[in-house]
């Protein structure tokens, strides 16, 4: 039983990473109705921002591993990625605002490849060790052992989710985001500057992806320029699972995926599924949801008007 809870926590921890990235996918889909394939690579940029920032702070500024360092690095990475997201949107997506969706989709793929391979050129393709931003500590509670890093992932994710919910529900910007996702023409007619809202959404989504990058690197401290590929696709699956365009759905989808994957790895051989099939879990869930409820767990189906 305690092992099961352990696995559950692991799953939720992994799921939190997926959830944070999935939120970006879903918010961008909500306001622009398009799948930003490059989003997973923003996660990678976040991890590398943390690598360089953390490295500089530790080596040149003499900072110690501590909560403070973690917070500074995370906020720094989030700012860098928010800016990255804004730049990408402005240069690659905004000119195509009225183009067929296929065109933008391909552009997003191009941006994704560009980020990955420039990353290889500039950062080097070899894996890099992520600096230790916080000293390791184990915590025991009720017969269970956790590392502080796992708990930090969960806590930070919860904190960010609360922050996001606040922004979306209680601020004017959030209300504008929601309005935009319903009807962009009406929005501009009532005086909302759609471009500002869209830029804000991109920035916000990218910042969350950056946080995911930092949190993920705490537990898996090896980073490469291609690290965003698979988590990106999986997080996207999570967003579709929960209902693309639906914010709580993205969080839910991410957690479900994280737990499902961890369970397959942990208990898979009991049902004759080798742990090496863990990557397939996401895609099987994807196919399943597309076949039975394409609008997602929390999504509402829309009917095309003839």
């Amino acid at each position: 039983m305690s092992e099961f809870i352990q696995q559950l926590i692991n799953g939720l921890s992994l799921g939190s990473i997926y959830a944070l990235i999935a939120l970006g996918y879903t918010m961008i889909y909500g306001v622009l109705r398009f799948i930003n394939f490059a989003h997973g690579d923003v996660y990678m940029v976040g991890a590398f921002s943390g690598y360089y920032l953390g490295g500089w702070l530790i080596n040149s500024m003499g900072m110690q591993s501590s909560v403070l360092l973690l917070v500074v690095v995370m906020v720094g990475a989030m700012i860098i990625c928010a800016l990255t997201g804004l730049v990408i949107e402005r240069l690659a997506y905004r000119p195509l605002r009225n183009s067929p969706r296929l065109t933008v989709l391909i552009t997003a793929i191009g941006v994704s490849l560009f980020l990955e391979y420039s990353g290889q050129v500039f950062f080097g393709a070899d894996p890099k060790p992520f600096p230790s931003l916080i000293p390791d500590r184990t915590i025991t509670y009720g017969g269970l052992t956790f590392t502080n890093k796992e708990l930090i992932v969960l806590c930070v994710t919860v904190f960010l989710l609360i922050g996001l919910t606040f922004i979306v529900r209680k601020t004017k910007m959030g209300m504008a985001m929601r309005a935009l996702s319903f009807n962009s023409t009406a929005c501009s007619l009532v005086g909302i500057n759609n471009n500002v809202i869209i830029s804000f959404t991109f920035g916000l989504g990218s910042a969350l992806a950056a946080a995911a990058g930092i949190l993920s690197s705490l537990n898996y401290p090896v980073i490469t320029p291609l690290m965003g590929l698979l988590p990106g696709i999986k997080a996207f699956v999570a967003a579709v699972l929960g209902g693309i365009g639906n914010i709580p759905g993205a969080a839910l989808g991410g957690l479900i995926l994280g737990v499902a994957e961890t369970m397959i790895v942990g208990y898979g051989d009991k049902i004759h599924v080798p742990p090496s099939y863990r990557d397939a879990v996401a895609f099987v869930l994807l196919i399943g949801i597309l076949l039975f409820k394409p609008s997602g767990i929390l999504g509402k189906g829309t009917v095309e008007k003839v």
Binding site: L105, I106, G110, L113, F114, F236, I287, L290, P294
Partner: protein, 330 residues
Amino acid sequence: MRDWSKFALLGAILVSLLVSQFIHLDPYFSIVVVNIGINIILAVSLNLVNGYTGQFSLGHAGFMAIGAYTSAAITSFGGPRWFDWLGGINAFTTSTLFVVALIVGGLAAALAGLVIGVPSLRLKGDYLAIATLGFGEIIRVIIQNTDAMGGSRGFSVSGIYTTIFWTYSVAAITIYVVVNLVHSAYGRGFLTVRDDEIAAEAIGVNTTKYKVVAFVLASFFAGIAGGLYAHFIGYLTPEGFGFMKSIEIIVMVILGGMGNTVGVIFAAILLTILPEVLRPVQQYRMVIYSLMLIILMLTRPQGLFGGLTWRRSTSWLRRKKIPLEDGSAA
């Protein structure tokens, strides 16, 4: 009036046979030429689905993989028995084995296309794209976990049977099939599905049937391309058939102008040669490729040849030119 395309097809096959037998190319150029042929097969077949029928499939490499591994399995495991039965290894026995392996590979891929297509093609646009992407990845993961075919370590193919003749014969057949199919009264159905599914249904076009037909046919040819590739490269790994490969093929279709076979062929040639041209700057190759992709979408999303149509729909009318309202004649 007779149809000349059959003769064109035979002519193309004959030419490729002659080239293969009598023109000796530098090995490096042979490799590029064969690669071009394989990419033509992949791009022209995908064009049927994405370009002519308007369905956005992102998993074409998965069908190539099925064809590659199936045909490799047949030549490796079935080969010895085949040679025994036919009494030895010679041009005839290897050719027939190869043809059988290719066709079975194609059929396996077509079957996968049917199984994947029927449920997926109910979805629209983005959803279809990610469903096909998902299936492509599932195929890759399954292959990775199939130890009999080497899994992640890879599989050594038993013989290098692919030549310029085989490759370009198949390419010619693929082009013949796709072009003739679309340029017929039956084939107009594909275009209606692309333009407006609801209107298509209203004039009696069974959109699901057309989508599945296009998908299965395209998968068949992708499977054969996979078989050709397997017996050319000699060593298969699942990574070579991932999402990236599907993207490469899609880019050829888009660059060529979706729904324009001639354009797609040109694009396939161009994009196969490009990496070779960029070899000196190998490490920047993908960066340049991705930038090109972005710039192409921003400046000319209809591709190099998109918007130019080959007006053959009223070819028989051109004998009696009918004056149009604006003074010209069609």
